[in-house]
Assembly symmetry: C2
DNA sequence: ACACAAATCTTTACATTGTCAAGATGTGTT
DNA sequence: AACACATCTTGACAATGTAAAGATTTGTGT
């Protein structure tokens, strides 16, 4: 294996280059050929690794989602109890996208949100960040010994997610910075202030 | 003025044709040339009415937003009091986008959310649906004689909006239909079930 | 009614882009 | 060494956004 870039990890290089472009010029500035030339390969080289542009974008989204998940997991570390973890996760959820508005637009934009999920999966139930939120919430109920019906649980999870996601949406779609704070209460109220 | 299509209202025809394409093939299938040929004009004809593709898209978004506003306004008609109006509006907010998921993706997708707003305006404060929600909420406070600080009011408005918008987002981004119900309580809890 | 200016539309042209096909090059395996 | 395979390049093509130049229609003032 030569130590030249293109042997062994072009696939990952393309993903990284694509994400860099997103950061600099948004999804509008993303073209297969630019990504290729950023990696110093010919314009058709990506086709050895991705079926088409959609596939590249899918891999990029998966990669960004991984980074997002790392942050969410990180937010729950060193929290005294699960309630704090929930709150911290909500805060981080919004703050991540405030720091990376281009990621928000990229992930939740355009036609193919679910491109990086298997076709038999459904959003948001099999979307990792949602799953993490759900798990943490259920752990929280167990820890506090709170009994709720399945239906009620689903509703409150959607509530939590919708609040965080909706707020992130507002923050990312506006130029304005949105100050926020997140608290959860037992009976299912969600406060963002 | 001949009664041929292209004299007098090509501008509106282009907007309508564009929206029709969005409904059929999503934003991916939208090209200036297709819009032009749908109106039976040459591919460069749109440039007499729109500076570029972005401008057309902006006008299309404004048009879709108008339809959305009509529905929101309609939802508040014939409601006994402002609280009911608020609830009805929230329901309609989500239901509109459940019925028109392509509109959601179109409006809140891609790079240029704010394309159809003046540059000196800010999202969501000058986004008509948000303004309407805000006004209705303030009217509700007044009607119920509820006193709240400006800050608290802003928080709760954001809360309302984030819940509705986040839920619409979930519903539109997933293939799954999301059943929901919307209730507001005085102390700022938002329930969607 | 006429002339002229502005708006509107067409034609032509060009650069960018996604994708395909055919071939070259390198890698690993037997 | 030989062969299969993955990877990369080159060349081509159609779709697209956009600019330039010209044609056509519309409106306005005289």
């Amino acid at each position: 294996m030569s130590d030249h870039y293109h042997h062994g990890n072009l696939r990952q290089a393309l993903i990284d280059a694509g994400i860099k472009i997103i950061n600099e010029s948004g999804e509008a500035g993303l073209s297969l050929r630019k990504v290729a030339s950023a990696c110093e390969v010919s314009h058709a080289a990506p086709y050895a690794h991705f079926r088409d542009k959609e596939a590249l974008i899918g891999a990029m989204k998966a990669s960004v989602t991984d980074r997002f998940m790392e942050e969410l997991n990180d937010a729950t570390k060193d929290q005294p109890d699960t309630e704090c973890a929930l709150v911290a996760m909500g805060r981080r959820y919004v703050s991540f996208f405030i720091r990376h508005p281009d990621y928000f637009r990229f992930l939740f934009s355009s036609q193919n949100l679910i491109a990086h999920l298997q076709t038999d999966r459904q959003y948001p139930d099999d979307y990792p960040p949602f799953t993490l939120l759900k798990e943490t919430y259920l752990k929280y109920l167990k820890e506090k010994k709170i009994k709720k019906s399945k239906k009620e649980q689903e509703i409150e999870i959607l509530q939590l997610w919708a609040s965080a996601h909706g707020l992130a949406s507002i923050a990312c779609m506006s130029g304005v910075s949105v100050s926020f704070d997140w608290e959860t209460e037992i009976e299912g109220e969600v406060l963002l202030r």
